[in-house]
């Protein structure tokens, strides 16, 4: 049974969200592979507060649920690492490894990620994408 916070977020996103593709890029060009998962999210432009803080107006804020990531077991099998390097692979990464495809536009890079972990469970991911 899903965590109540996830269930509530899923319900809200079902009504007010949209689908997008979260992509992890493995390898260097031209020998790259894309690991995609279609997720549900609320996607918004920057607020006046964000703009005043110097964040580009072309960036987008994304609020997403971990449900689709969990269902797809994205990004799949990975080489396990020992602590403290055993990071949760489900959490998107800033810095060019992860991208999103929104509304048929070219891929945007994930530049900031703020995962919400409640009681040891990933319940929500806030992130900012650029490009």
């Amino acid at each position: 049974m899903a965590h109540p916070a996830i269930a509530a977020l899923d319900s809200a996103l079902a009504q007010a969200g949209e689908d997008f593709i979260l992509r992890r890029v493995i390898g260097s060009a031209p020998n790259q592979v894309n690991i995609d998962v279609t997720c549900r999210a609320r996607i918004d432009a920057m607020t006046e507060k964000d703009l005043a803080a110097g964040i580009p107006a072309t960036d987008l804020n994304i609020i997403m649920s971990p449900t689709q990531i969990n269902d797809a077991q994205w990004p799949g099998g990975t080489t396990p690492a020992l602590p403290p390097f055993n990071v949760d692979q489900r959490i998107p990464r800033a810095g060019g490894v992860d991208k999103v495809l929104i509304r048929g536009q070219p891929p945007r890079a994930v530049v900031f990620v703020d995962p919400k972990i409640v009681g040891g469970e990933l319940v929500r991911i806030n992130m900012r994408v650029s490009g």
Binding site: I26, G27, S28, A72
Partner: protein, 132 residues
């Protein structure tokens, strides 16, 4: 089955030799799996010597991982695929030889172990599974 769909069993950049077989984290919750299509792809494939990926399955998290498919690559970009089916017959469990498949054993989890020799450059490996 519980969770039909497409999964990635492994995806990584390949460089230095993987001398000790490297198990990837497992895809779990596949109860009722009847068939799995596997596609292994080595992109680039320059500079190294051999690269091997063995797909394994087991019944429950406490079961023994059994080899069900093995893909072998050398020094060229290549793609291999196979289909493993569960069926009502006895599967003889044994380590697999190069580029071979064990039919009739599909548990509730899938994972893969990787090994390689030589140092590959700008090479990527991906192993996808379509489970039904």
């Amino acid at each position: 089955m519980d969770s039909p769909g497409d999964y990635v069993l492994a995806s990584l950049s390949v460089s230095t030799a993987i001398t000790t077989s490297q198990a990837q984290t497992a895809i779990t919750g596949l109860a009722g799996m009847r068939e799995v299509a596997l596609e292994a792809e080595l992109l680039g494939g320059t500079g190294g010597s051999t690269f091997t990926a063995v797909v394994r399955s087991r019944v429950g998290s406490g079961g023994t991982l059994r080899e069900i498919a093995r893909f072998d690559f050398t020094t060229a970009a290549a793609k291999s695929c196979t289909i493993v089916k569960g069926a009502a017959s006895i599967a003889a469990l044994a380590a697999l030889s190069a580029n071979s498949v064990l039919q009739n054993f599909l548990g509730t989890e899938l994972d893969c172990i990787l090994s390689s020799t030589g140092t590959y450059t700008n090479t990527t490996f991906v192993l996808r599974a379509s489970v039904s």
